[in-house]
Symmetry: C2
């Protein structure tokens, strides 16, 4: 069922199982205990960072399938995307999964783009068992978008740190677990910002736009959710979004509002404005948040994953950053 | 409704309107009359080929909306992807469309990945008016995947020519036009081929796999369709697929089987093994095929768009080419 640009899932698809895999830097963060596997080696024993990223994603998919008590062939469709050119991490992991595959690109918004579509397939009766997955790797992202980390390039304080990790969720029509109740699909919002070292600032208006649409479409009270998490706005972007929400008159309780990019690392870790990367909102949601929902600490949660959809080429050609945010509502099962 | 990995669209979403835009080389091909606009200038008056590709896609979207008698804000969701890193053509065109946007990556299979999802949204009642779109540009693809065309790099006879074009379809719950009846989602098939100058050969097994799944899932007779078109296998890949189908015992009538990559250019055009690119199957389907369906020449058609999901990095790291094919069945309205 549709209301505005929000899909309302009347059959409330279940997140039967989920898994989050992290790297050495994530292991030092405050959410370490919510990861299923934490790797000490940034290379995961592979001979390239790209292969390490693929392995992270394969592990997240395998672990999620395993936790759901399934075999990978039980998954009817996997929806995955990542930051790599031609989303190679996803396509190679989908080769390993060997099940029907829908490739997505939403940059750091991919987590909720995938979860929204996986839930839609199940809700509409076009699948019984789907998977949404995504990954990112600090070193592959630095190399592709900026410089190989070995160069030791400096960054301004507005920059964010790409999470090394992967996460996957098994979404089904039957079973126990938190339920996906609605999803609001974002549109491109571009306020003309061009600085790729301040993606949080660029993405803040997109998050605001999707939040407004979600509350308006469903006619929700501002206190509907126990927790609303944006994807990876970081310090600058999150503060900007709070100001924008205020300007637009959407008074979400501040103590129930946070950003995945501000949660995954500690204040002591040198991540400038916070975390980013497709794995950021995915790991926080599929690890930390779902764990807190299962333990009864949280009941209704809204995840607003944000994405900066530029490329090095579009930046070099002086284009601004087109941004998007997709929101998914999850309720304790 | 699902059968195997095939979605059966019981409400038979309508392709109310579609548009195909091409470049100067496409204007010389045998399907020229089926394009809505053919540009004489490969740059479309822009100062970069990437901006030209974005403009092609914007024009396809605008023209399709226009032909549907709609305004762009009538479109509830646009599903688009392309070959560019971070699918910038799609994201920037979606900024222009200013409607909710789901970014896809399926390389040259994007056309049918998008049409399948657009139809699914409509069929399931999660949208009334959607759009599927994609684009490619010969010069952006050469620059990104191989060398800038100005270098004059040579290619082997197995190579294919990336189509410069864009195409879009408006898919709705109401109205008149050809109807989308089913879609079979592909899985990754990778037979270990590594030559990026023979993508048709690499993709042939994926097309075979999806064709077999489609006929098996729906229990169809081999003569069900008036026409079955693969995406962009070209001469080598198409011949390989015909052999594979024969080996697998799927006896599709040869006179009803063709490949978009063999149709869009003439024998005289120096395209080596044929055409490729995300716009190849999209332009042939949304232009030529739909026109022939509307004129009554064709009744039931199956489009099997194929994609080679490698990247320059995966090639440099000695990986093989993961391939996929998504099939969509269309019936005259």
């Amino acid at each position: 069922m549709i209301q505005g640009r929000t899909w309302v899932f009347q059959n409330r698809p279940v997140i039967t199982a989920a898994a989050a895999i992290g790297g050495p830097f994530e292991a030092k963060g405050p959410l370490a205990e919510d990861f299923d596997v934490l790797h000490e080696d940034l290379w995961l024993g592979e001979d390239s960072f790209e292969k390490a990223e693929k392995k992270l994603l394969e592990q997240a998919c395998e672990r999620a399938v395993d936790k759901a008590g399934m075999q990978k062939e039980d998954i009817q469709f996997v929806m995955s995307g990542d930051l790599m050119n031609q989303i190679i991490s996803s396509s190679f992991a989908a080769r390993t999964m060997a099940v029907p595959y829908i490739g997505l690109f939403g940059a750091c918004s991919t987590s909720m783009e995938g979860l929204a579509l996986a839930a839609l397939l199940v809700d509409s009766g076009n699948a019984e068992r789907t998977m949404a997955a995504t990954a990112s790797h600090n070193a592959t992202a630095e190399k592709q978008y900026r410089y190989p980390t070995e160069y030791g390039g400096q960054k301004p304080p507005t920059a964010q740190w790409t999470v090394t990790g992967a996460a996957a969720a098994v979404v089904t029509s039957e079973g126990a677990g938190p339920r996906v109740t609605a999803a609001t699909i974002g549109r491109i919002v571009d306020m003309g910002l061009k600085d790729p070292f301040n993606m949080g600032g660029a993405m803040a208006p997109a998050a605001t736009d999707t939040l407004e649409a979600h509350f308006r479409d469903l006619g929700l009270s501002e206190t509907e959710y126990d927790l609303i998490l944006t994807g990876d706005l970081g310090k600058i972007g999150f503060r900007t979004m709070v100001d924008l929400l205020d300007e637009h008159g959407l008074q979400l309780p501040q103590d129930r509002l946070n950003d995945c990019g501000l949660m995954i690392y500690s204040e002591e870790q040198p991540v400038q404005a916070g975390a980013s990367g497709a794995a950021c909102s995915a790991c926080v949601t599929y690890g930390h948040v779902l764990n807190r929902m299962r333990s009864g600490e949280l009941n209704k949660v809204l995840i607003v994953a944000t994405g900066a959809l530029h490329s090095p080429i579009s930046y070099q050609q002086k284009e601004s950053i087109p941004c998007i945010a997709h929101a998914v509502a999850i309720e304790a099962g």
